[in-house]
Symmetry: C2
């Protein structure tokens, strides 16, 4: 069976971690006798440097055709001065929006072999394996009206949610919970925000459709503490866009490095996969990036776009084994210690597929 | 010299932790030959039960007269069904708003003697001693328009900041940084939100007035991870209302229990002091609450309202010694183990003043 994957290497370390994921992809294809055809497109600073827009039409056409998309990273300090409409972050948000990917899955786990690299006591985090389901197309990120007053003396943003927007992402979370521990935690700030009251009411009303899933709620502040105190207690955590942005990074601290975190953004059509890390311009071109987030994202491509649970597990096991055996990229070694390069790490994972 | 303190015991464990703080206050008065006159007023569920409003006029008059206010906690599940305008949380927000306390200081520290009670490795957190300066009267908490659409199908909140609102809280943070490590970190989401762009621009423009303070910025998601990875790196952290709500609870995980966290909310007139914990209704009336947050808040009364740095340090040292000597309330012992009661803990701290 031939599958297609759209690659968006992007900026900074993006091209290197995407290349690493491709090395692992080839190994999976060999092992499982798959054919995967990849096509690369430009985005972000790389597109701007090529005198294109931050999200070129050709890239948009490829990303909205229904095939899964693997993004490296976008972000280039050379363009930081641009007004918001042309900002690289705006390009990333436009990509997500055009693809209609409203459910951003951000897994966070504790890794055997990295106990010394995290700030947490191993006995408090061992076994942590949770997924934050972050609403990705609503809330403060996209709400109108927004802006800075013309006198420059005040600014405003709008947090907005409709029942339909909450339902579609909650459905993904309920189904994910059903396929895992059958526990779902919804996180909001319903004691203060009307958007959160609508959120909670909508999620509660859906619970009857999923009688096998135990639903709970926590306020975002309380959860920010509980997540650090007892990460092993949580499994599937549903929350709105900005809360999910913050909480998924916090959850990532349990892993020990931003470089380890994968993500999948799902919608009714396409799906976008990206490591959680950014473009890390200072590391670019030096073969020192951690490709684990990108490789983990490739596993999620198989799981969520290609019904390839076996392939996903093969990648995740190979990654876990590589880490358990002590291979570490620069983000995970003490300063001065010898690190495995990005490309070498990818080869090690590929060999273990 | 005679000083006055307004007490708002409030709901749940509020009255017990305020009583505990009073025991310590008496010891401080004896030791430093002070006279402090206290007057108690009702608020929250306690006020509703007495057929008053959630923030009675008499209480409002006392709280807005310029004297410091020590609040226990508000929150009573019996009134959870009330519409927002009458909600107990709304009473708390009205209290803060009426007092004009725009700068909420939330210290978080690692405690010697509680190393086993936190999820963090002691060597990664020892020495942590940071203060989150949370803007308390703006942002999504108070922004208009807000509401649920009349058809119940959507809801909205408004995040709003003016330059003046940012300046007044930033000033508190710059001055605090000047009195401590001379480092200030401002946390925002300027890559997405216009309110954050205004925030960052305003804080940057003020930096020239504080040339002795090194100013840095981080995005809220990145900081949520960095705070967990390296809490010792931070000193004074300035941020907007909701970000501060979330991040201060996360920072509290370094301490090991919500019960340990004090806070001070400062404005141009009055000042409000409250432990960060809530009313914990299930613990109420059982003398099992942790009064350390309330006692720590009393120290902040001396430091910020009464220019009593020596008294503040005496309280904080007595608290630290009590904890270091192994006395622990129920929130900090393993289930089944013997705990020190709330009132006994207060006496132990008082004896060490
Ligand atoms: C770069 C930024 C716009 C983005 C976000 O906030 O969504 C990033 O932080 C992320 O989490 O993918
Ligand atoms: C109870 C709630 C309104 C309050 C807040 O969000 O400010 C609380 O979480 C706090 O942090 O003091």
């Amino acid at each position: 069976m031939t599958r297609s994957l759209v690659l968006l290497p992007g900026d900074g370390i993006g091209p290197e971690v995407v290349a690493a994921a491709e090395v692992v992809l080839q190994a999976v294809c060999r092992k499982f006798s798959h054919q995967v055809e990849t096509r690369s497109f430009t985005i972000g600073g790389a597109a701007l440097r090529a005198k294109q827009s931050v999200y070129p039409d050709e890239t948009r056409a490829a990303c909205t055709a229904g095939e899964p998309v693997l993004l490296g990273a976008v972000g280039d300090p050379a363009f930081d001065h641009l007004p918001r409409e042309q900002k690289i972050e705006t390009g990333l948000l436009a990509l997500r929006f055009s693809m209609g990917v409203y459910a951003n899955l951000r897994p966070a786990r504790a890794w055997e072999g990295l106990e010394d690299a995290t700030p947490f006591k191993p006995q408090r985090t061992a076994g942590t394996d949770l997924i934050i389901v972050r609403e990705l197309l609503g809330g403060l990120y996209f709400g109108e009206p927004r802006g800075i007053a013309s006198d420059g003396q005040s600014a405003y943003n709008t947090m907005k949610y409709s029942v339909g927007e909450v339902q579609r992402v909650a459905r993904v979370a309920f189904l994910l919970a059903r396929s895992r521990s059958k526990r779902l935690l919804s996180v909001d700030k319903a004691n203060v925000l009307e958007t959160s009251q609508l959120w909670r009411r909508t999620v509660n009303a859906m619970a009857a459709e999923y009688p096998d899933v135990a639903l709970e709620h926590q306020y975002v502040d309380a959860f920010a503490m509980n997540l650090a105190l007892n990460p092993t207690r949580y499994d599937v955590v549903l929350t709105e866009n900005l809360f999910g942005d913050i909480l998924s990074d916090e959850a990532g601290a349990v892993s020990g490095s931003l470089g380890l975190l994968p993500s999948a953004s799902l919608g009714d059509g396409g799906a976008l996969y990206e490591p959680v890390h950014g473009s890390a311009p200072t590391l670019a071109g030096r073969d020192v990036a951690n490709p684990a987030g990108a490789i983990g994202s490739l596993a999620l491509v198989f799981r969520h776009s290609w019904k390839g649970e076996d392939e996903a597990r093969a990648i995740e096991s190979a990654l876990a084994r590589t880490i358990r055996e002590g291979h570490r990229t620069a983000d995970l070694v003490a300063p001065g210690q010898k690190a495995t390069s990005c490309s070498q790490f990818a080869r090690l994972v590929a060999e273990r597929i």
